[in-house]
Symmetry: C5
Subunit: 301 residues, 5 copies
C-alpha cells in the first residue's frame, strides 16, 4: 500500500497519513512525559544521585545513527529487491505473451490466463489472502485443482510449462523455440523463488531487537541528560531527537517485510492490475480495467 505525497510543499510538511507519525506518536508522548519528569526532578538531582551529562549520549547517539543507517539500507534493500521482482514479473509476462503472439497467436489467450493466474496467485500467497475468486476468473474449473496445492503459483507455472511441452510434442514448436520460451518461464521461477525467499526470511531478529532496545532506552534516558543544560527547552529537543531516531527505526521495520498491507508496502493490487492491462491490451482486447490511481487519502493498495 503506497501513499502518494500531497503536491503542495506546505501540506507535505504536515502530512499525517504518509509519515510514520501515526505509529510513533504514543512513544513521542511518553518521551515528552519523561522530559517533564526530568525538569521537575532537576532540583532533587543532587539528592537522587542522578548525574547524567550529554557527552556519553553523544557518543552513543552517533553510534546508533551509524547502526540505524546500516539497518535502513538492509531493509530498504529488501524493499527494492521485492519491487524489482515484481518489475521482472511484468517484463517476463510481457515477453512470454509477445512470444506466444509471435509464434502461435491462437494460443495467446490461454497463455494470458495462466500468466495472470500466476501473478494473482503469487500476490495472495505473499499476503496470505484467499486466491479463489481471482483464480476462478482466469482458470475456471481448474482453479480448484490449483488451490489444493501447497504452492499454487508453482503449480500454475508447471501448467504453463506443460502447455509449452504439449506444443513441442505436437510439432508446433521446434526444440530451439521451446528452449527459448522455457527460459522465460524460468524468469517466473526466479520471481517466485525470490519473493518466497524475502517473505520467509526476515533480517535476523536480533538486529531489529538490538536496535529497538537501544533506541528506546536511549530516548528514555535522553531527557535526563539534556535537562541540566537545556532546562525548559528539554522537551523540544528531546522529542525532536526521539522523533528522528524512532521514525527511522519504525520505517526500517515497515520496509523489512514489504508484501503486507501497511503503509509504504508494495501496491501488489495495482501491480497485478497493471500486468493485466498490459497483457490484455497486447491481445487487442477492448474492455480493459482502469489504470490504478491513488484514492482520496493518496493511498494505493
Amino acid at each position: 500500500m503506497i501513499i502518494r505525497p500531497p503536491s503542495h510543499w506546505f501540506l507535505r510538511l504536515f502530512a499525517w497519513h504518509g509519515s510514520v507519525l501515526p505509529g510513533i506518536w504514543f512513544r513521542l508522548m511518553l518521551n515528552l512525559l519523561m522530559s517533564l519528569i526530568a525538569i521537575m526532578c532537576l532540583d532533587w538531582y543532587e539528592t537522587l544521585g542522578i548525574k547524567l551529562t550529554l557527552a556519553p549520549f553523544s557518543l552513543l547517539g552517533v553510534s546508533i545513527a551509524v547502526f540505524l543507517g546500516f539497518r535502513n539500507s538492509v531493509c530498504f534493500g529488501r524493499y527494492i529487491e521485492a519491487r524489482m521482482f515484481w518489475g521482472n514479473l511484468l517484463i517476463a509476462c510481457r515477453t512470454l505473451q509477445r512470444q506466444a503472439l509471435a509464434i502461435s497467436p491462437a494460443d495467446a489467450p490461454r497463455v494470458t490466463a495462466l500468466l495472470l493466474a500466476f501473478c494473482y496467485s503469487l500476490k495472495h500467497q505473499l499476503r496470505h489472502s484467499d486466491a479463489r475468486a481471482d483464480l476462478q476468473r482466469y482458470l475456471g474449473d481448474e482453479a480448484e485443482d490449483v488451490l489444493k496445492r501447497r504452492s499454487p503459483a508453482n503449480y500454475i507455472e508447471l501448467q504453463l510449462s506443460q502447455w509449452l511441452a504439449e506444443q513441442r510434442r505436437r510439432g508446433n514448436l521446434s526444440d530451439i523455440l521451446y528452449a527459448h520460451m522455457d527460459s522465460n518461464i524460468h524468469q517466473l521461477s526466479q520471481v517466485l523463488g525470490g519473493c518466497e525467499r524475502l517473505a520467509s526470511m526476515p533480517v535476523p531478529f536480533a538486529y531489529g531487537l538490538l536496535l529497538h532496545r537501544t533506541v528506546y532506552l536511549f530516548c528514555t534516558l535522553l531527557p535526563f541528560a539534556l535537562v541540566p543544560d537545556l532546562h525548559y527547552m528539554t522537551p523540544l529537543v528531546s522529542v525532536f531527537i526521539s522523533y528522528t531516531f524512532l521514525s527511522l527505526d519504525t520505517l526500517a521495520e515497515e520496509l523489512e517485510m514489504p508484501f503486507g498491507l501497511a503503509k509504504n508496502h508494495l501496491p501488489l493490487d495495482a501491480l497485478c492490475t497493471t500486468i493485466e492491462i498490459n497483457l490484455r491490451e497486447m491481445n487487442l482486447e477492448q474492455d480493459l480495467p482502469d489504470t490504478p490511481r491513488p484514492d482520496s487519502c493518496y493511498r494505493l493498495t
Copy 2:
C-alpha cells in the same frame, strides 16, 4: 536537463545555474532572518527561558548527516540506474540494427523506424509529453494506432516482434536466428520495464518527509543554539551549515525522479538524438541530425 559546468574554476565556484542555490535561497534567507532574531533576543534569553547549547545539535547534526548520506546514495542510485537503462537502450538498438543489417539488409530501415519510434515513445511516456509528432515522423499512419494504446512503447515493441515473426514465417530467418534476435528485443523490454518501475515507484514518501522535517527544524533551531557561543558570527556559520544540509536534501529530491525537465535530470532529448544519429549512420544515411550540444547556459535537455 543537464547543466555543463563552466570550465574556469573561479566561474565554477560562483556558478548559479548549475548549483541548487536557486531552489534554496529563500530558505537560506529565512535562516539568516532567524539568526538575526536570535542575536537580538540574546539579551532576553534568561527571561524567555531559552537555553539551547550546541552539544545536542552536534549529535543531531551528525545523525542527520548519516541519514542524508543514506538518502543521497539511494536517490543517486536511481539516477544512475535510469542512465544505465538509457545506455542499455542505445546498446540494444545498435545491436538490433547491426543484426538486421547483417541478416536482412533490405529491412534495416523498417527496423530503424521502429527502434526510433520506441525510443521517442519511451521518452514522451516518461515525461508525460505528447508523442504524436515524433511517432508520425517515423511510423507515418501507423502512429495513430500506436497512440491509442495505454502503453505505446510496449505496442511498438510488439510490432517489432511481429516483424521478426513474419521474417521467420517467410523462411528468411531460421529458428536460431529468430531466438537470437528476439533476445535483443527482450533487452528493450527490460529497459521499458525498468524505466516504468523507476517512474511509478518513488522512494517511500516517509523517508523524504522525515528528512525534510528534521533538516528544516534543525536549521530553524540552529541559530538559537549557536548564538550564545558565536554571537555576531552566528549568521555566517548558521547559513553555511544550513546551505550544506539543505543543498544535499534538495539535490537528493531532484535526483529521485530523474526523467523530468528540472536541472540535473537526464537529457532524454539528447539521448534520443544520439541514438538516431547512430542508427541512421549505420544505414549510411547522409543528412544526420547535429550532435546535441549544451546551450549558452551550459544546459542540455
Copy 3:
C-alpha cells in the same frame, strides 16, 4: 537455526532466546564489575594517577562504530549470499524437475531423487554431519558409493549429468534440449561452489581479532572515563554502551559462518524439507512432509 520473534511488542523487548544476550551477559557482568570498581576507586584517582576523560573515548567510540558498521555489512552480506544460494537451489531444482516432467515424465522420479540427494548432501557437507541416512532414503544402494567420495554433492551432480547424457545418447533428447537442461545443472554447480567458498573462506581473521580487541578494551576502560562525570550513574550508562557494541560484534561473528546450528544461522533442515515438498508435489505425490514450523521457543533449525 532461526528464531521467530514473539508477536507482542512487549514480549519482544524482553525476548531472551532471539537476542544475543545469552552470549554476552557474562561480559556485561564483567563490565558492571568494572563500573563498581571505578566508582569505588574514584576517591583515590588523584593518588593513583588515573586521569581519564570521555573526549578521547568519544573519538574512539565513533571510530569503532564506523568499523563495526563495516564489519557488520560484510558478515551480513555473507549471510544474505548464503541464503541466496539456497534460494537459487530451490529455483534450480524446481526448474530441472519441471523440465524433466515436460520432456520425459517417466524419468521424473529419478531426477527428484538425485536432486533431493544433492540438497541433503550439501546440507550435511556444510554442517559436517552424517549424510548416510538421508542419502540412503533417496539413493538406496548407490548411497555407499557416493559417501566414499571427498565431495559427495559434486558426485551426485555428476550422476545427474550422466543421466542426462544417457538420455541424449538414447536419442530421447536433442542436443539443444540437452544443452538447455545442462545449463540448469550448471546452476547446481554454482550453488555448490558458492557454498563451499563461503564455508572455506572466513572474513580475514585479523578483522575480527582487531574489532574484538578494541571493543573489549574500549568497554573495559570506559567506566573509568565515565565515572568522573556520571558518578553513580556510571554502571547504567557503561553497561548500556557496552551492550550496544558487544551485541553488534557478537552478531557479526555469528552471521559470518551462517551454515552452523547456532542461533541466527540458516535453517537448512527447513529449507531441505521445503525443496522436498515442492519437488514431490510436482510429481503429484500425496504423502508430503509437513511444512516446517518453528517450535515452542520460536526456533527453526
Copy 4:
C-alpha cells in the same frame, strides 16, 4: 596515466608525483596564510566581534567527511567501472580471436586487425585524440572510410559483424556458430556503450560544486575557529586538516572522468598494447611489441 609507487616506504611517504600535492599546494599555502592572519588578529578579536569556536566546525567537519565519503565512493565506482569495461574488452577480444582461430583460422588476421582497430579507435574517441595513424596501421585504406564516421568504433564493429555475416552467407558458419560469435560482438557493443556513457555523463555538477564550496569555505574559516584554543599551533593543525579534506576532494574529481591523461587516469595506451600483444601472440606472430613498463617517474600512460 598511472603512477607506480616507489617501493621503499620512506620514499613513499614523501612521494610527490603520485600524491595529489602538486594540485593542492597553492590552496594549502592560502590556508597557511589564513592561519597566520588568524594568529595576528587574535588580540583584536574582541574588537572585531569575531567569536568562532570549534564546536560548530566539528559538526560541520564530520558532516562534510560523510558527504566526501559518499562522493569518493561514487567517483571511485566510475573509475572501477571504466577499468572493468577495458578488462571486458580484453576478454571479449581474446574470445573472438580464439573462436576465429578455432572455426576459421585463415581469417584470424583479419579479425585481429578489426579488433585492434576497434580498441585503438575507442581509446582515441575517449581521449579526443587523432586515431588516423593507429587505424591506418591496422586497416590500411579502409581507415579513411572509418574516420569519416561520427562513431568510428561502432562502424568498425559493424565491419566485424558484416565479416561474420559474410561467413554465414558463404556457408562457412552455421546459424548456431554465427549466433554464438555474434554474442561476443555484443560484448564489444557493451564496452563501447558503457565507456560512452561514462564519458558523456559526469556525476551531477551540483554535487561537486556543493562539496568544493563547503570544503573551501570550511578550510578558510577553520583557522579562525582553531586559533583561540591552539594559538601558535594553529597553522600546523589547520594545514593538516585542510590537506585531508582538499586531497580527497581533488582525488574524487580526478577519478570522476578516468579516461584522460591526468595522474591516476587509466593507462589506455598500456591497455591497448596489452591487447595487441595478446591477440598477435595467439596468431603465433613473432615481433610483438614490448610489455608496457612505467617510466623513470613511475608513470604509465
Copy 5:
C-alpha cells in the same frame, strides 16, 4: 596465505600470528615514545608555545575513520572479488570436466590435464613464480612451448579451445554442443582476465598515500593533544587509538593485492590442490592428493 584462528577465545585475544601486530609493533613503540616525550615536555608547554587540545583531533579522527572505512571496503572488495574468481574457476573446471565426461569420456584425462595446467599456470603468473615443474607434470613436453609465451594461461586456454574445435571438425560434437562447451571456456577467460585486472591495477596510489600520511601524522601528534587532559594515562590511550587506526590501515594495504604470500593473502596452493582433487575424483582416479590443512601455526598457503 591464510591464518586459521586458534579455537579458544582466550588464545584468540592474544594471537600474534593472525593479527597485524607483527607489522605495526615498531610504529606502536614509536607512538609510545612520543607519549613519553609528551609527558616529559608537559611542564615546558607554556614556554614551548605548544597548545594542542583534543577537539580538532576529534574532528580529524572521526573524518579519518570515515575515510579508512571507505578504503577498507574498497580493498576488502578486491580480496572478495579475487576469491570469487577462484571460486568461479573451480566451478568452470568442474563443469567442463563434467561435460567432457558426459559427451566424450575417452578425452576426459586430456581435458583434466589442460584445466589443471591452466590453474597452476594462473597461480604462478599471479605470484610471479616458476611454473615449469607444475606444467611439466600435466603437459609433459608441451610445457616448454607454453612457457615461451607471454601469457601462458591464455595459451593453454587456446589449446583447450583447439581440442574442442578438433572434436567438432571430426564430427564428435555438433555445433550446438560445441557452442555450449565453448561458453564454459569463456568462463576461464573471464577468470583469467579478472585476475589480471586485479593484479595489474592497484587502488590509485594517492588514496593509500593520503591515508598513510594522515594516519601517521595523526598518531604522531595525538600524544601531545592527549597529555594535558590525561597526563600519565596518555601512553595507554594513545597507543590504543594508534593500534586501531594503524591496524586498519595496514590490513587494508595487505588485502589490496591478495595474490601474494603475505598473511591474509589467498591460499592459492590450497585452491589449486582442491581443484585437482575434484577433477581427478570425477575421473575416478584413486591416488588423490591430501586435502590441504593449515600447519601448526594455523597457516595455509
